[in-house]
């Protein structure tokens, strides 16, 4: 169904331009990883706290408010450096199960982070939710983003 669109991306002038350069694609991959680190840091600082570890002296809502701009910046950086990789590899991505897994879990993780997780973060400090709910929320966040997005993303390049 989407194949024509991927064909179209594959044949864009900019895709060919990236493909012809030996260094653009590797550097984009490397910068993608820098944004991954930023994103993961802003994610873990809150999720570890939800799990009852990390910076326990601080209310989780305070940590989340501080981490939020970096989480968003990291995510936007990942998208901006992800698009050229998709353009350059459009057909390989189209036929990769890991690519579709990543693209399916990512919107779920994104919505989860800014709705359910955000809600639990705001409830945790005043003990309005049982600790086990906070813990499961942090665990689910890590499983979604790392297990459901980052790991399959790395696997696209290793198994296709």
């Amino acid at each position: 169904m989407l194949e024509p669109y991927f064909q179209w991306m594959n044949n864009l002038a900019v895709s060919r331009f990236i493909g012809e350069s030996i260094w653009i694609y590797p550097l984009v991959q490397a910068i993608h990883l820098l944004f991954l680190a930023l994103f993961a840091g802003a994610l873990f600082i809150v999720d570890l706290r939800l799990l009852g570890w990390g910076i326990r002296e601080q209310p989780v809502a305070k940590l989340a408010r501080d981490a939020r701009p970096w989480l968003i910046a990291g995510f936007l950086g990942l998208v901006v450096t992800g698009i050229p990789q998709l353009l350059q590899n459009a057909m390989r991505e189209y036929f990769s199960d890991f690519f579709w897994m990543k693209m399916t879990v990512m919107p779920i993780a994104l919505i989860y982070t800014f709705t359910l997780r955000q809600w639990v973060v705001s409830m945790t400090d005043r003990s309005r939710v049982p600790p086990v709910v906070s813990k499961l929320t942090g665990l689910a966040s890590i499983l979604l983003w790392i297990g459901g997005v980052a790991v399959p993303a790395r696997l696209i390049g290793l198994f296709t």
Partner: protein
Amino acid sequence: MADFFQPLHDLFFWVSEMENSVALRESQYVWPTFEVVHVVFVSLFAGLIVMMDLRLLGIGNMQTPFSQLQQRLFPWQMFGMAGAAATGLILVFGDPMRFYGNIFFWMKMLMMVIAAVNAMAFHYITYFSVESWDNASVPPLGAKLAGALGVGLWSFVIIAGRLIPYNWFQN
């Protein structure tokens, strides 16, 4: 120069001939599994290092006193580093000659040493006076410098690491 590096070359070559090393690089799933786990540990380590460095630079996580951030994140940073180092060592063990002749691999190793020196220098010099700037909205120059160097050096480590498969300077 060639003579100087000969023992290192021989060591890497000797490892590459070991049965387990050959098995690892010829494995279909084991090698890629370690590559994936390596990236996960790196993102834990580097992510929490960046969170600390942003605080040192005075631009992130400013509602938390630095000493709290440092002490609480330190075990997780070390856990990330231990996992990244262990999986990294296994990857080198599995294909030593691929790394021996790779400029990016050695740049990465060198930058890690410099980053460690930066962390130690910060710990024994600037961190000594942490009580006077723990809550300061503008950390002292020494802290900012350590934070900037930390972000820069670890970024370099990650970039060099990602470029290892692209060995443009292979002779």
